[in-house]
Structures are given as structure tokens and as C-alpha cells.
């Protein structure tokens, strides 16, 4: 009796991966930080993937050669921890037989996932990791769908330059790989633009009180600030800048102002600008897939919230993979990678093209950021696109004080 139940159990266990690797299904694996520090951002990203999966499957699947494949997403909670990412991507490849991979959220976790994906030679599309260093390691199957960190603040520098070519700029950013890459590139661009960089300071990611730092900004007589890092620190900085009446003319903060929750800061949020990979209002005319407006509508119908850039980037990542599969006409790794290398396409997320030289292979080289600003309209706080001028939905407010 015991041996029969054991056999049944064994058969069930063996049947499971077989189910996932169904003949008419493409299995795509990823981890999502459903718990831990990155949960807000990672869940938004996951929703973008889910919407893409639903739409593809509702339309009969992806046409590869003369066959249609349904998409099957397999995901696990990585608890926002690199160690879990390492275990789970291995599991996705070995046990769940994922044919393609999407990246986790955040540069740190992507770096870990990329080691595993390259080791097993799997294509990994990154929609939530902007740090560019990972692409200098000679990876062959890693593709970055969003703008890399060294161009995060290019638009902000340009916009500020259009208002004040001699601004006194303070760069204050979190001491993590992503923020440091962003700020490092911004410092060079700011100097090139003719700004006076009066403060260049990294703070530990655990920083709770920004008062001394803000006093330092005031002492340096800065009139513009760019920096931040992730969620809690960026929002705290915005609130304390207001509480301490720093009276800066310009404030750009990374990541935190991009969430709708930023509006809960009330008056502290007004005027804060943030670079964004994507905003629902952008007016790109896609060569492939839905328009930004159609995507936004479908997303709102499914999740009852407006999509943020993470959701948009994830959905765009799905589209890019779909496009490459259709172009390649095959599930063969080399053919799909070649199709991705040849991609030069505008989708709802913007223009997508990957670097193909071995030194930067997979790095995003065509996509551009927009600059959004929190503005008060009819008593309600809203994010408006203010830069580049051809994409703007409202005029830039400058100076703030």
C-alpha cells in the first residue's frame, strides 16, 4: 500500500515539470519581491508581465514559425534578497524548465540573476534594473529594456540648464549601486552643462534623518538638488526639505516620486521632479503592440490602478520578447538572441535598441527618459510630464521658491 502511494506521489512530482513544458506553451520564469523592501516596485512590474501574458493568450498565443504558443509565467517570491534570487533562478531553469527569463526588480537582484542565466545560457530580459555595469561583463543573453542609469538624469540636467545655465547643484544620493551610477553620470553631465556642483554626497541606505544633510545643502548655498535612491529615503528627504524650509529652486528625486503614494506627502511633494522611464501620458507611436493609451486603459481595467513605469517597462519587455520570437520564427536560443540583437523598434514604452558590441552587449541604447513634476491642478496633486518639450503635458514650474 505504502509503495503504491509512493509511486503515485513520484509520478505526480515527475508530471509537474512536464505540464509546464507543454508542447504548445512557452515557459517564462522570473522572481518577484512579493515581500521585503522592494515589494511595491516588484509587484507593479509583475502586473505588467501578467497583463501581457493575459493579452497574448487571449489572442491565441505568440506565432512562432507556423505554430502558436501560449505563454506560461512561473514566478517565485525572492523576498527582496539576492540569495533567494540565486536559488530561485536556478530552480526556474533546472526544475521548471523555463525557456526564457524575465529579470527581478532592482539592479542588485538583476546582477545576481544574470550570473545564473548566463551560466545556463538563458535569455534574460531586464525591465527593472538600470545599473549599466552588468552589461560590461561580456554577457551574451542579457538584454536591458529600459534606459540605463547613466542616462537617468540627462533630461533633468538639460531641463535645469534651460532655466539656469549656472545653477549651483547639490548631488545627494543613496550609497547603492544604482543611485551611485546615476549620480556619477549626472555629475559629469552637470559639469559639462556648466553647473557648479557644490555638494556631492552619498548617504547610507539606512539613513533615517536627513536634517544634517539638508543643513549641509543649505550651507553649500545650493539652489538645485538632484539625488535620492529608493522609496523611504527619497520621500523622507522631500518631507524634510519642506519642513526645514530649504527653499531650493529645483529638486529632482529618484524613484520615490514616481509612485502615486508620493502624493500623501502633500505640500512637500509640490514641484518635485523625477526622471521616469515611462508615464501613461506619453505619445509614442508604436510599430508593434498597443499604443500607450490602449495599454493604460487595459491595465486600469485589470488592476484598477494607473500603471507606473515599472508596469509599463515589464509589459514592454513582454512585447519585445514576443516580437523577437515572431521574428526568429523559432524558440532556438541563438535565433531569438539574434532577433533581439537586431531589434530597432518603437513600442508603447518608447524606442528600443540593444548595444551589440561585446563590451556593452545588451545595454539599452535607444530608450529615453521623461521628466515628470508633481503639480497641483484643481487642488489635486498630479504628475505631469514636463521634459522633453515635445512630450510635455504641462509647463515646468521653475523656480520652486
Amino acid at each position: 500500500m505504502k509503495s503504491i502511494s509512493l509511486m503515485v506521489a513520484a509520478a505526480l512530482v515527475m508530471a509537474m515539470p512536464a505540464l509546464a513544458a507543454d508542447d504548445n506553451t512557452i515557459t517564462i520564469g522570473m522572481t518577484v519581491s512579493q515581500t521585503g523592501a522592494l515589494n511595491v516596485e516588484a509587484v507593479a512590474q509583475m502586473q505588467g508581465f501578467e497583463l501581457w501574458q493575459d493579452q497574448v493568450n487571449a489572442a491565441g498565443g505568440i506565432k512562432v514559425g507556423d505554430k502558436h504558443y501560449k505563454v506560461h509565467l512561473v514566478s517565485y517570491d525572492d523576498q527582496s534578497q539576492g540569495g533567494r534570487v540565486q536559488q530561485l533562478y536556478t530552480r526556474l531553469i533546472v526544475q521548471d524548465k523555463a525557456q526564457f527569463l524575465f529579470g527581478p526588480y532592482s539592479s542588485g537582484l538583476v546582477g545576481t540573476a544574470a550570473v545564473i542565466s548566463e551560466q545556463y545560457g538563458k535569455i534574460l530580459l531586464v525591465t527593472g534594473g538600470a545599473e549599466p555595469k552588468t552589461y560590461e561583463l561580456g554577457n551574451k543573453y542579457l538584454f536591458q529594456v529600459i534606459t540605463s542609469a547613466d542616462h537617468y538624469l540627462t533630461g533633468a540636467v538639460d531641463a535645469l540648464h534651460s532655466k539656469d545655465p549656472h545653477a549651483r547643484l547639490a548631488l545627494v544620493y543613496s550609497d547603492d549601486p544604482f543611485s551611485k551610477a546615476v549620480a556619477g553620470a549626472a555629475r559629469d553631465q552637470a559639469k559639462e552643462a556648466g553647473f557648479d556642483v557644490v555638494l556631492n554626497e552619498a548617504y547610507p541606505p539606512t539613513q533615517t534623518d536627513f536634517s544634517p544633510i539638508i543643513n549641509k545643502i543649505i550651507s553649500a548655498k545650493a539652489d538645485a538638488l538632484m539625488g535620492g535612491g529608493h522609496y523611504a529615503d527619497g520621500a523622507t528627504m522631500a518631507r524634510q526639505l519642506y519642513d526645514q524650509k530649504a527653499n531650493l529652486k529645483w529638486v529632482t528625486i529618484l524613484v520615490a516620486p514616481d509612485s502615486d503614494k508620493f502624493a500623501s506627502l502633500g505640500p512637500s511633494a509640490v514641484g518635485i521632479t523625477t526622471p521616469s522611464q515611462w508615464e501613461p501620458q506619453v505619445a509614442y507611436k508604436p510599430d508593434f503592440g498597443p499604443t500607450p493609451a490602449a495599454f493604460t486603459k487595459a491595465f486600469e481595467a485589470k488592476f484598477k490602478v494607473e500603471p507606473d513605469y515599472r508596469a509599463g517597462a515589464a509589459y514592454g519587455g513582454g512585447l519585445i520578447l514576443q516580437y523577437a520570437l515572431e521574428k526568429a520564427g523559432s524558440l532556438d536560443r541563438e535565433k531569438v538572441a539574434a532577433a533581439l540583437n537586431a531589434t530597432d523598434l518603437t513600442i508603447m514604452l518608447g524606442h528600443i535598441k540593444f548595444a551589440t558590441d561585446p563590451q556593452h552587449h545588451g545595454l539599452q541604447i535607444a530608450h529615453e527618459m521623461v521628466l515628470a513634476q508633481w503639480q497641483k491642478k484643481n487642488g489635486k496633486l498630479e504628475r505631469q510630464v514636463v521634459w522633453p518639450l515635445n512630450a510635455k503635458t504641462a509647463d515646468l514650474i521653475y523656480p520652486l521658491h
Partner: protein, 286 residues
């Protein structure tokens, strides 16, 4: 120069709240030799209690202080019987594991309910401006309330019968039992008091900074440093330790990159552990 002075003053203001956040930790640690790793979660509970009180019930932020203290006290009694009572007097690892697991459960629940999104409690309190520098009203009031609370705790511990019983149990539990002090009840009371203090400190932090479910860890970590500086079980020591910590943060920032502040703090932590194992501000007690 004025900027440096402003940073020092602000360091003292925020540091006093670090002190309050550590007071509960040091009280529990000192009295029952339990390192309460749920402390961070209780600080977060205080923050969320403030958020619920102000946003859902519309209570003004500072009116929530007393209810949060009482609520924290009741939660503390419960927590004592669930996670602490059975491990008192056992090897320290037992209580560490027990409170650590409760902490994981609480933080897990919090993340499931609220996610790690940011919460902000807007408090409009005019600050004091000095030249170009401003000290926010929330920081000033939080520091003032902290001093009052530390004073009350001192009076309780040194000038009431129950407070003296708490200190007696901390000093020698067997001897306290022999002279007729109901030690178990005293222990649960001290634990509850520690949790209530954590809740109140969380509430005051919530008036100053936006927070998430995960914000408690940082204050718990600072709490350890403060406990080491101030000595175990000594509320005034905790207050002074917290102020010292804030002072370091305020004083160091103008002169060096901010990322060095934790290095200095923890180097000090180790140095004090070696030189004054009982805490700098606890010398008088020994």
C-alpha cells in the same frame, strides 16, 4: 559655523527620540535579561497606530500619545505571556530566538496587509527659523515630550513602590521573591512598559518622518548602540545615549561624507563595549 551648530542642535533633538526608542529595549534587557527583538516591530506598530488614529479616526497626532501608550502596554502584557515568560532565566539564545520569530511573524503580517509602501502623517506645527536654518516643530515637540517621558519613567522607577520592585527584581530576582515581591507580575509589567515605550517612540518618529513597515529595524539597531552607551535598564542613560548618538550624527555630517556616520557609530559601539562594558552613563550605578 552656524550650519554646524544647527546640525548639532538638530542632532540633539532627533537623538533624544533615538533615546526614547531605546528606553524600552534597555528596560527589558536590564530587568529580565531578555533582548527583545520584537522592539523594532513595536516601534512600527506605534507608527501605524498613529497613522490609523489620524487618518481613520481623525484624532490630532499628539492626542494619540496616551492611547498608544495604553495600547502598547496591553500588547506588551500579551506578548510577555506568549513569547517571553517561558524563556526567562533560560540561556539568552532562547529569548533571542523566541522574540526574533515573533518579530518575523509580525513584520510578515504587516507586509502582507500594507505592503512596503510609504505612509506619511502630515503634522502642521510651525518650526523655529534661525538664519537660513529651520528646526521643524515636530522635532522640537518630540524632543520635549521625550524628556518628559524619560522624567516620568525615572520618577516611576525610583520613587514608587512598584518601580522600586522592578529595580529589585532587576538587581536580584531570588532576593526580591524572598521579600515577597510577586516577581512574575513585576516582570510582565516591566516588559509591557518597555513595549509601550517602543510604541510611543514609534508614534513620535511617525510625526517627524515618513515610514514603512520595515522602518523599525533601523531604530532597533540604533537602540542597541544607545543601550551600550547608556547602560542596561537605565532610562536616563538611554536618553543621554540617544542624544550622544544624535550628536555624533549631527557633528560628523558637516565634516565628512555621511556614509561614514554608521562606521563611526559602530566603531564607538565596539570601543564602549570594550572600555565601559556597563555603559558610559551607568558608571554611577556600579
Amino acid at each position: 559655523m552656524i550650519g554646524i551648530l544647527a546640525s548639532i542642535i538638530d542632532g540633539v533633538l532627533v537623538g533624544s527620540v533615538y533615546g526614547l526608542a531605546a528606553m524600552g529595549l534597555t528596560l527589558i534587557w536590564g530587568v529580565m535579561d531578555v533582548v527583545n527583538l520584537t522592539h523594532g516591530a513595536m516601534i512600527v506598530a506605534g507608527m501605524f497606530a498613529l497613522y490609523l488614529a489620524t487618518s481613520a479616526l481623525g484624532i490630532s497626532p499628539y492626542a494619540a500619545l496616551v492611547p498608544i501608550f495604553i495600547g502598547g502596554f496591553l500588547v506588551g502584557i500579551m506578548l510577555y505571556w506568549v513569547a517571553v515568560h517561558r524563556v526567562i532565566g533560560r540561556p539568552p539564545l532562547m529569548s533571542l530566538l523566541s522574540t526574533f520569530s515573533v518579530n518575523l511573524v509580525l513584520i510578515g503580517l504587516g507586509t502582507a496587509v500594507w505592503g512596503t509602501v510609504l505612509f506619511n502623517v502630515p503634522v502642521s506645527l510651525p518650526g523655529i527659523s534661525w538664519q537660513r536654518y529651520t528646526f521643524p516643530g515636530t522635532h522640537l515637540l518630540a524632543a520635549a515630550l521625550t524628556v518628559v517621558i524619560a522624567g516620568l519613567l525615572y520618577l516611576f522607577l525610583y520613587h514608587t513602590r512598584i518601580g522600586k520592585a522592578v529595580r529589585a527584581v532587576a538587581g536580584n530576582r531570588e532576593a526580591a521573591e524572598l521579600v515577597g515581591i510577586p516577581t512574575t507580575r513585576v516582570l510582565s509589567l516591566a516588559f509591557a512598559l518597555g513595549v509601550a515605550l517602543a510604541g510611543v517612540s514609534g508614534m513620535l518618529i511617525g510625526t517627524m518622518f515618513p515610514f514603512t513597515v520595515l522602518s523599525g529595524d533601523t531604530y532597533q539597531l540604533k537602540g542597541f548602540v544607545v543601550t551600550v552607551l547608556g547602560g542596561l535598564g537605565n532610562p536616563t542613560g538611554a536618553l543621554l545615549g540617544g542624544i550622544a548618538l544624535g550628536l555624533i550624527e549631527g557633528l560628523a555630517t558637516p565634516f565628512m561624507p555621511v556614509s561614514w556616520t554608521p562606521v563611526i557609530e559602530f566603531a564607538l559601539f565596539v570601543a564602549v563595549l570594550i572600555a565601559f562594558p556597563k555603559g558610559i552613563f551607568a558608571l554611577r550605578r556600579s
